[in-house]
Symmetry: C2
Subunit: 496 residues, 2 copies
């Protein structure tokens, strides 16, 4: 795929599908969207839910409304790691970002542990503006692979340092970072820090000219689009940990922007920052927490993350219609949870107003004396199980495994099944969009089944940048700076 | 989709993806392939199995080989029935064949029970040759919808009558039928008949000029391609029931042709029969028993049916390269079994040499005195469980649910999970192929997510035929001839 065949658009009609050549729809900007842990059943679940809610709520007479991602399907993607048929987000992310098949836990390094450049770094090197927008911690595996190179994904502090440029051999690579993970950027003397040293990455960022945003109020200023405030570079982190699930955001005075709000803001900033330059931008957007809800086997939280992903896909599609010099690809890094819809009726998910994460939070925080009453009056109705039989409530209380029991009960009620709390080996769907002839080329070129390592090569062709140039620069600094794999490090592919 | 926009190929480049118009790659021939019950995980399972076998059998260092269907992915298809989020093969088949959303159990009729023409009948009406090639009984739901119109899929005798033209209002519609279901074509006085009347459909077929083939020897004569022998029309049925699973065919002197052998023969016959005519042919090929192995939760039988489907896809692709005036689409009617690959290692499936259907057959037929010995020496090794611990063998014997226990043990060993013995609601993958500009148009037009009812409209555009003309003719005969829905009829979507 790296051997590119650039031909004029007029020859398109007669290029064979089996040709190794691509007719890259050259563009100034590339938007890459990763719905982490989003499987094929995730989309069917969301589409049927939205369709039923708008069409009489009768699963015996369903009428379908397509969601945004539906309209953009172009192929499928294989996901396996170099050392496992089931990938984690690090290996698949490294494939997406760097075009290299690597091991589970690898962040921007190949199987030998040598650093490999990313498509974001390649774009940066050629003068493009760059952005990362996620709902996980910003130093989680999927964003990490675009601007960090460490042997082990669990090296969160090191990843944060790379991402902001503090210890990245090539300095700051990302002009715009939005998401969670604030605690990794604060020195350990700050009580809300999760670092084990005094490195102050927010201070470093400010010194390097970044605007640092740490709350919703400051984000709203940014979002208003005041030209000076929204100038690049900036970093906005709105939670010490992951951002809240979409289903939970509405339950409290909104402290955090939604993924869609962050995307709107980021694209506006990138567009403005590149208005008068030759080169455009590369941005990676991650709907991060589809995966977390899959690990938790939490159907309603999963559903609302998937709907948000579709809202973002819709916004990006409309954005591209207005900014035609832009191409988008989107694929999950892997499926998560082994979701199947085997007796399916999504309507019971309608009354769910919190994630199982929120349930656990409330349940742990409850310090009253009537645990049964609190469960019945607050937790169960909030989790869509207000009609649970009294004997079942007793059983759940006695069993003392609230999360496991409630997610299983809700899943059963909605006719969905999870086969694992980890990932699965299944292919994922590839989506893409370009307007006019760019879209035409994209669909003709990228229909089919791809290895996850093949996608960044396509982006290289569209933006005319080269990852290999970055790899060379990174390796000029040696390889020991990527650190070592942590023995017994957490295995994210196979458990939560 | 029925409002067609035929424009010259030269305008292709600038047709927007969101346009309602299609640039149909007009062709003489259309090949439609239904891998019944084939879900996305089915393909990953088959690909990883084949790849491992050819690449060192080390799941910790996997190297992927693409299978034929991989290269032909173009989109996804929604499958729901008019009365259920989970479809059966009848409703989804009626959508594929007739373009109409109908109820589970419907065969070529709309929700009101009125007949609707099929794409096969529309092609026949315009002078095309037509064929049905399956591994199920020929009067099973998926082939039935192309040439039968009955209110209930369980009306197997009636369906056989329609398919051969005996009681089809428009006479014989299918020039070539290959598959199983012989017993439905023989009068009840024949001891191998499964009819409840004396209608002799083979005799009727002969009277109408069909060559009738009932065994492998006669098929082999056909396959040799002797021009006179292979002349249309013909019907070849090689088993009173379904054809054997592919995994079982090699265990006995081959009595039945494989799906691939039937496809080779059928395409050669159709091609020869239309060589000197203006109109070409329409053929529906079904890899029928992927679904049956899904219902049975039988991983190795499922795997080998999926590999056979890929072999057929490969053959058809090469056929189209040599016969470029031909377009192919292929999509499953639904997923079956809720298959996920959650701890996946397909290597244990290598030693399996029989389906669970064959296991049951052998176990029922065994009349010796050493049941435990027979289980240990013959059944378990044949089913890939030769290493089962002695205590487990005792448990299985005592439990007396051999099929359920062995499929569960084998599935666990291979790290695959089934969530149901019925169908699921998930989308399925759309594949398509055309050579040169036809393929280019096909991919550009048909990328995306489609309702199953939208596909025959595309075939209408390619062949320039109209289903509505057939519907009009069928309804001129009234509607009572389609019969009534059977109260308490078998629900194929939700159980085997």
């Amino acid at each position: 795929m790296r051997s590119t065949l650039l031909v004029s658009a007029s020859t398109l009609l007669f290029v064979s599908s089996t040709s190794a050549g691509f007719i890259f729809p050259t563009a100034r900007n590339f938007i890459y969207i990763v719905p982490d842990g989003y499987g094929q059943s995730s989309q069917t679940m969301a589409r049927d839910y939205v369709s039923l809610l708008r069409n009489g709520e009768n699963p015996k007479a369903p009428v379908t409304i397509q969601l945004a991602a539906d309209k953009l399907v172009i192929g499928t993607v294989r996901t396996q790691a170099s050392d496992n048929l089931i990938t984690d987000s690090a290996a698949s992310g490294t494939a997406f970002a760097c075009g290299v098949k690597s091991y589970n836990n690898a962040i921007g390094v190949d199987p030998s542990g040598a650093p490999v450049g990313s498509i974001l770094e390649a774009a940066k090197l050629q003068g493009f503006k760059t952005g990362l927008v996620v709902t996980s911690t910003i130093n989680h595996a999927t964003p990490a692979v675009y601007a960090a190179h460490v042997a082990d994904r669990n090296s969160y502090e090191k990843i944060a340092e790379h991402e902001i440029g503090y210890s990245h051999p090539l300095g700051p690579q990302v002009d715009l970072l939005l998401g969670g993970g604030r605690c990794y950027f604060k020195p350990m003397s700050d009580p809300t820090s999760c670092r084990k040293d005094e490195i102050d990455l927010f201070k470093y960022a400010k010194d390097k000219g970044f605007r640092v945003i740490q709350d919703r109020a400051a984000f709203d200023e940014l979002k208003k689009g005041n030209a000076k405030v929204a100038e690049l570079p900036y970093i906005g982190l709105f939670n010490d940990d992951q951002l809240m699930y979409e289903i939970d955001r509405s339950r409290v005075p909104a402290k955090e922007p939604s993924l869609l709000q962050m995307v709107e803001t980021a694209l506006t900033s990138l567009d403005r920052a590149t208005k008068s330059s030759i080169k455009g931008y590369f941005i990676m957007i991650e709907a991060s927490r589809i995966d977390h809800a899959g690990h938790a086997n939490d159907p309603a939280a999963h559903l609302h993350e998937v709907i948000m992903y579709n809202d973002v896909m819709n916004y990006v599609r409309e954005w591209i219609d207005k900014h035609s010099d832009t191409v988008m690809l989107s694929a999950a890094d892997h499926e998560c949870g082994g979701l199947t819809l085997n007796g399916f009726n999504p309507l019971p998910l309608k009354s769910v107003s919190m994630s199982i994460e929120e349930v656990s939070r409330l349940w742990s925080a409850y310090n009253g004396t009537d645990r049964r009453g609190y469960l019945s009056s607050t937790i169960l109705p909030g989790y869509g199980l207000g009609d649970l039989a009294s004997s079942e409530v007793d059983r759940v209380l006695a069993n003392n495994k609230l999360s496991t029991d409630l997610t299983a009960l809700l899943s059963k009620k909605a006719g969905v099944n999870w086969s694992t709390s980890g990932h699965t080996a299944s292919d994922v769907i590839l989506h893409g969009y370009g307007s006019g002839w760019r879209g035409q080329n994209l669909r003709a070129d990228m229909a089919g089944n791809w290895d996850n390592t093949q996608l960044p090569g396509y982006i290289e062709g569209v933006l005319k940048v080269q990852i290999s140039k970055v790899t060379k620069l990174l390796r000029a600094k040696g390889t020991s700076w990527v650190g070592k794999r942590e023995a017994g490090g957490k295995d994210h592919a196979h458990s939560h």
